[in-house]
């Protein structure tokens, strides 16, 4: 990693940080929905925590883990949306011109996600503790919960970055939001998995975020439930989405796909250009047989041949 790449990473993350400092509404956006949900569920649904079979020590703590993860997923979503906006307006292209290692740009957005995520986690923890949420886990378990939340934020950012770099337009925002939102809500969000009915139970059972959700609830309750599986799966998600983001950056470097050449002649010329050579006729080689070729380019070639004859 060169000093220049580190400078690019710092520059990108600093720019994003300055943008949200200057626009507090933008800064509050990823936190607003999770906090509203925290208030709504912890306030309205407390009685559900006392129903038979719920088996968790406190409903506020139960919903807290979902809200913590939701906040981190939203941080990732909003970073991705900002990235798609940057690439949509052409600013991303200018950043790519300045960066010798283009992945340093993605690194910058990741650093920003982590910084914003730490702030969001601290705020949500402060609100939860101030409103009297009981915590049973020890310091190490709470640290593990926070690390899991940050890992989810990183995974979401990488997924969103892959989409943003492929679309290179703000139109990716809807896809980034909907895909992450749907997967997050298909976890055991409001009640334990064994109490969920219908299709959602099946969806939650195969959702890769479910182990992180259940393990997080175990950590805060001091009854760890498969933390290895949760960390392993979340780490695997990060690796897969890292490859997705790297390939997205390669796609962005190639730029938009050129339209497919039409006609035999045009295809031959494009193939020759790709091979690094000159078209056969330009190099003095034999002209293709015009009678067998089809398409407008071939028709033009036949007309030229007739004119010469």
């Amino acid at each position: 990693v060169s000093a220049r790449s580190i400078a690019v990473t710092i520059g990108v993350s600093r720019r994003s940080a300055i943008k949200i400092i200057k626009n507090p509404v933008m800064a509050a956006a990823p936190l607003a929905v999770p906090l509203f949900m925290f208030a709504a569920f912890a306030g309205a649904m407390t009685a559900v925590g006392k129903t038979p079979g719920f088996d968790y020590y406190n409903y506020t703590a139960f919903i807290f883990v979902f809200v913590l993860y939701q906040a981190m997923v939203f941080v990732g979503i909003f970073t991705g949306i900002e990235m798609s906006g940057d690439f949509g307006t052409g600013f991303g292209d200018r950043m790519m011109l300045a960066a010798p290692q283009r992945l340093a740009i993605v690194g910058g957005y990741l650093v920003f996600t982590l910084g914003r995520g730490v702030f969001s986690i601290a705020l949500i923890w402060a609100i939860a503790l101030l409103t009297g949420m009981p915590v049973r886990g020890d310091a190490l378990q709470i640290a593990a919960l926070v690390v899991l939340a940050l890992m989810l934020g990183v995974a979401t950012t990488l997924w969103a970055a892959g989409l943003a770099l492929r679309a290179r337009s703000i139109t990716a925002a809807a896809l980034i939001f909907m895909s992450s939102f749907v997967v997050l809500f298909m976890t055991p969000d409001f009640v334990p998995r064994h109490l969920i009915g219908g299709w959602l139970h099946t969806a939650a059972s195969i959702n890769p975020l479910t182990p992180a959700m259940e393990s997080g609830r175990g950590l805060i309750a001091n009854t760890p439930a498969d933390p290895e599986l949760a960390f392993g799966l979340t780490g695997a998600l990060i690796l897969v989405f890292m490859v997705w983001a790297v390939r997205g950056m390669r796609a962005a470097e190639r730029g938009p796909k050129a339209p497919r050449p039409r006609g035999l002649q045009a295809r031959r010329e494009a193939k020759a250009a790709r091979a690094g050579g000159t078209p056969p006729q330009a190099a003095g080689g034999p002209e293709p047989a015009p009678g067998r070729a089809r398409g407008p380019a071939a028709r033009r070639a036949r007309a030229r041949a007739r004119g010469r004859g």
Binding site: A32, F36, M37, A40, V48, A174, V182, V191, I196, G198
Partner: protein, 259 residues
């Protein structure tokens, strides 16, 4: 309404409906997002029916009421984007050169909102009925449910018009939608008020007018014809509409005077 105003209203209303129909990016999220939340809450919230005193054994029946209101809240976005779009593209400036009255222009925008709301409410109720929702108020109750929802849609549409007339920006109207969605979650959307055990939340839900909109539609689904719930819900919807429309007409007039 004079005959010329009626003609203006009809023409602009047709335009508003055509614009709404031509914008699937507005129509589809207004229906898809509440349906997704209905699907999630119906499965995840079933445990709530085991709370002693819960008014029904079917959580999907209970939560369908809030889905209808959630869809209606989208009226803010639809109306706001229609008017903000007209302001941003200069259509309103061109209309000023004609004898069209500003109030007519605003009322006509609500036609598109009403159509989107009507389609949405029919879809939500149909999906609910397919998945086992029963309407206690009977077949007439279904019509009343659509009617009340339509009234709420128009009320939120008027709020969207007010937002667009004040700000002139579609993005800022979108922020208003987020605010109302948050307020909806802080209502009795998830649990009947009498079963909310946290006093601070019960107080918020009681003072939150969105609780009464949800309870009006819910009464038709769960308890039958409840005159008090319906009167409160429709009353709040009419109040929202009257305040927002008056504000929108004044805001629009002031905006036009500045031009």
């Amino acid at each position: 309404v004079s005959s010329s105003s009626g003609e203006q209203l009809r023409t602009l209303a047709r335009r508003s409906i055509a614009r709404s129909a031509r914008q699937p990016q507005v129509m589809i999220p207004s229906i898809a997002f509440p349906l997704f939340m209905l699907a999630i809450l119906a499965c995840a919230g079933a445990q709530a029916t085991k709370v002693p005193g819960f008014p029904t054994k079917s959580y999907i029946t209970f939560v369908l009421a809030s889905t209808l209101i959630q869809g209606a809240v989208n009226g803010t976005t639809v109306a706001g984007q229609l008017l903000a779009g007209d302001l941003e593209t200069g259509f309103v400036n061109r209309i000023l050169l004609t004898p069209v009255r500003q109030s007519v222009l605003l009322f006509a925008q609500l036609a598109g909102v009403a159509i989107v709301g009507l389609i949405g409410s029919i879809v939500f109720i149909a999906v609910g009925l397919i998945f086992g929702v029963s309407v206690k108020a009977g077949a007439g109750g279904v019509l009343a449910l659509i009617g009340v929802t339509l009234l709420v849609v128009i009320a939120f549409g008027a709020i969207g018009l007010l937002g667009a007339a004040l700000t002139g920006s579609a993005a800022q109207v979108q922020a208003m939608f987020a605010l109302f969605l948050g307020l909806l979650f802080m209502s009795s959307m998830l649990m009947p008020r009498n079963l909310i055990t946290e006093n601070w939340f019960k107080t918020i839900a009681t003072y939150n007018p969105l609780s009464y909109l949800v309870e009006a539609t819910r009464s038709l689904l769960i308890s039958g014809w409840d005159a008090q719930a319906l009167a409160l819900g429709c009353g709040f919807a009419l109040l929202f509409f009257a305040i927002a429309m008056t504000g929108a007409v004044f805001a629009m007039r002031r905006r036009m005077e500045r031009l």
